[in-house]
């Protein structure tokens, strides 16, 4: 109860001073908050508890990677002090933790705060305080709008880009497609759907049926049956893991011979395709931007070897099968890249500027041909993806890297 003890102390002081005398409680921020000659303080908010706690693997991987960086001498001689707090995926708690990081711990920036609701909750506060909210862990398209929120930037391909990529592929490669779309009735589902329509362009009437579901629904069987009945021959499954698996399974059970697309968030072999049935999943199409470490084509890839060595040494408890570990590894590398670019000028302004001027940055685990680009008007670092098909055992990438630049 250190807060209480503090309070009593404060009150004691307050009785000595005359009551009612107001004085500013917060000291003036230094030019480089969170930065000393030996340390850079970086904040993070992740769900270590609650319904989305599986995602905490990402923050744990990031922490492990920063340990590696620190052990190898840090960034320009400064060690990263990674302060990661739990918000239980609850927006009010995220606000509390963000304020703690900014006002109490005085971090340089908040990095990879996770989840659309939590990031929405702190976005206004971060921009008011002019503290960078960098590389947030959500694909919601709203987090890449420099006009409204110049201190907030995403990282992973946004959901709309993903939809655009599916749309472009179908429009050019599948001229006879009749599309049935199942989507989750929230920002994620609608973002992908909007992207899909944008990607199809003037062929948007290829979509013959749409069926939405609520996260609270137990099953999505009726949606799948309805889409099949519409006569669609392409099934686009824009769902979170549990529902995606149900959709794939149901389509197989009712003998729907459609080309199936499954959203990137739900392309985990372990969490989605295995429960849905590997036979039912064969032929599925999805997207990727990072190398799949289970794919034998990367067995001799030096980047994959580095990753394996990192996992063995710094995060031995981590699950190598989980895509969260490659994700965390890559996003941490992006953060390190930005800090290195900023050099010794580690003001919040300069770090943001460096984040917004990435030019053709390639990460080791990116699929060949991919790179990150940002500018003062483009706050979406990754906007390319490659399509891949499930062969019954693992994903195989095919075709070229496709750009899903929003509005491009």
């Amino acid at each position: 109860m250190h807060n209480r003890r503090n309070m009593i102390k404060y009150v004691g002081a307050g009785l000595v001073l005359s009551a009612g005398l107001a004085f500013p409680a917060i000291s003036q921020a230094a030019d480089m908050p969170g930065v000393t000659d030996t340390e850079i303080k970086i904040g993070n908010i992740s769900p270590y508890s609650g319904p989305a706690s599986a995602y905490s693997t990402i923050a744990k991987t990031i922490e492990a990677y920063f340990n590696k960086v620190n052990e190898e001498g840090g960034i320009n001689g400064r060690k990263i002090n990674f302060l990661s707090y739990d918000d239980g995926y609850s927006p009010p708690k995220a606000v509390e933790q963000a304020r703690k990081l900014v006002e109490s711990d005085e971090v340089l920036l908040i990095f990879q705060s996770l989840g659309t609701p939590s990031n929405s909750a702190i976005e206004k506060y971060m921009n008011m305080k002019k503290v960078p909210q960098l590389l947030v862990a959500t694909g919601a398209t709203q987090f890449g709008n420099p006009k409204v929120a110049p201190w907030t930037m995403g990282w992973q391909p946004n959901y709309q880009s993903e939809g655009i990529i599916y749309g472009r592929y179908i429009a050019s490669e599948m001229p006879d497609a009749k599309i049935g779309v199942m989507f989750q009735n929230d920002d994620f589902g609608k973002d992908v759907l909007n992207g899909l329509k944008a990607g199809l362009g003037d062929k948007a009437d290829m979509i013959v049926a749409e069926a939405s579901y609520e996260v609270a629904e137990p099953v999505v069987d009726s949606q799948v049956v309805k889409l099949k009945a519409s006569g669609a021959n392409v099934f686009i499954n824009i769902a979170t893991p549990k529902f995606a698996a149900q959709g794939i399974k149901k389509a197989h059970e009712i003998g729907w011979e459609a080309t199936q697309f499954v959203a990137n968030v739900s392309n985990s072999v372990g969490a989605v395709l295995t429960p849905a049935g590997l036979e039912a999943s064969t032929g599925l199409i999805s997207t990727a931007y990072l190398k799949d470490m289970q794919d034998p084509q990367w067995a001799d890839d030096p980047a994959a070897k580095d990753w394996n060595a990192f996992m063995d040494k710094y995060y031995p408890d981590g699950n190598k099968l989980s895509s969260f570990t490659t994700y965390g590894y890559s996003v941490a590398q992006t953060m390190v890249h930005i800090l290195e670019q900023a050099g010794d000028d580690l003001t919040r302004e300069n770090v943001l500027k460096q984040a917004a001027s990435m030019n053709d940055v390639k990460l080791p685990l990116f699929l060949p041909g991919m790179s990150m680009n940002t500018s003062e008007t483009d706050y979406f670092p990754i906007e390319q993806m490659q399509l891949m098909k499930f062969n019954g055992e693992r994903w195989e990438t095919f075709g070229d890297v496709i750009s899903g630049e929003v509005g491009g």
Partner: protein, 350 residues
């Protein structure tokens, strides 16, 4: 308490001092009242001085603590005073928060006006929910209210309401500044608003409990059949208890929305309802000031648990809670009563 009781107390004390064994009980009782009042005044002074001593982050935490305390106060009226169990007060909190947010966001209503509005809406919702709940007792009522807590956040996501609620995207609210050019920053100002609302809520609750209505509510809790034969309209009072309880929680929700500046259906996960029940039990069921301790518990103990162990914060929180229930099964209210009881016994034996 009025001045009369104080003089009576001193008189009683003098008497007790004169003849040690004759009137020990009232003397003990009045000294307890004195201790409690002194504690209350000390708390109030702390409460008034705190925002000038603490940093903005701590002020924010204290504000949230007070908001939870108001919500727990509401739950206490229902559970502690009227004996009806609710696992669904997060739903009323959510309704209050959404009422305030929608009024501010869509209709440009001033934030202070949203508080009575949220209270009224929640009173009506609570009263109406109280009517069917009349048929349910104990665990069945708990289950029905549980359902309410699970359903409500989903309702805010539904597309027919999306025009107002913005669905899962939630509503962002601007933080109000202090009026009349007061030398307070927004955090300090909101703290004082919350403190004022909290004090008002506490005084009202106290008066309610001390009134004829309060006695009727307690009679319904202690023995519904006897209450009914005394002429108490049990159905009306039970629904009324639900309504008033929801009103309190709704006002807390509205304050919460204004202070956090953002609401979305995910803000009102079922865990919120459980947290309120935890706060109620920790503070002491049926003891109104306990709400403050309950609010402090659910606000600060999870943070302590997280500091002890990040990965196992939930488990640490659980262990703290179990220890708490093992050591003080009647909550802090019970502990305080026992302590005061022991104190007066000692003074009696002296």
């Amino acid at each position: 308490m009025s001045i009369d009781t104080t003089t009576a107390g001193t008189a009683g004390e003098k008497q007790a001092a004169a003849s040690q064994t004759v009137l020990p009980a009232p003397a003990a009782a009045t000294s307890n009242v004195k201790i409690m009042r002194a504690a209350g005044i000390a708390l109030l002074v702390i409460g008034l001085a705190a925002p000038f001593m603490a940093g903005n982050f701590l002020i924010f935490q204290l504000t949230m603590m007070l908001i939870y305390a108001i919500a727990i106060l509401g739950l206490n009226i229902l559970t502690g005073i009227n004996g009806q169990f609710s696992l669904g007060h997060g739903a009323f909190y959510a309704v209050g928060a959404y009422t305030a947010a929608i009024l501010m966001d869509q209709f440009g209503v001033g934030y202070l006006w949203t508080l009575p509005a949220a209270g009224m809406v929640c009173f009506i919702v609570g009263f109406l929910f109280g009517l069917p709940a009349l048929r349910l007792e104990g665990v069945y009522l708990a289950l029905a209210t549980f359902a309410l807590a699970v359903v409500t956040p989903q309702l805010f996501k539904l597309s027919p309401f999306e025009h107002w609620t913005s669905g899962v995207m939630g509503i962002v609210i601007a933080k109000p500044d202090a009026p009349f050019g007061l030398p307070l920053n927004p955090d300090q100002w909101l703290y004082f608003v919350t403190l004022a609302v909290g004090l008002l809520a506490y005084v009202c609750a106290r008066n309610l409990v001390g009134s004829r209505t309060g006695r009727a509510l307690m009679a319904v809790r202690d023995n519904p059949i006897a209450a009914r034969s005394m002429g108490v309209n049990t159905a009306l009072f039970k629904s009324l208890a639900f309504g008033v309880s929801a009103l309190y929680t709704g006002v807390a929700g509205a304050l919460g929305a204004i202070v956090v500046q953002y609401i979305s259906p995910d803000s009102f996960h079922f865990a919120l309802s459980v947290a309120l029940v935890v706060g109620l039990v920790v503070g002491g069921v049926g003891w109104l000031p306990g709400a403050l301790f309950g609010g402090a518990f659910i606000m600060f103990v999870p943070n302590i648990a997280e500091e002890l162990s990040k990965g196992l914060s939930g488990a640490v929180y659980g262990v703290i809670m179990i220890l708490m229930m093992y050591a003080v099964p009647t909550g802090l209210g019970g502990l305080l009563k026992a302590a005061l009881g022991a104190l007066s016994k000692r003074s009696m034996n002296r």
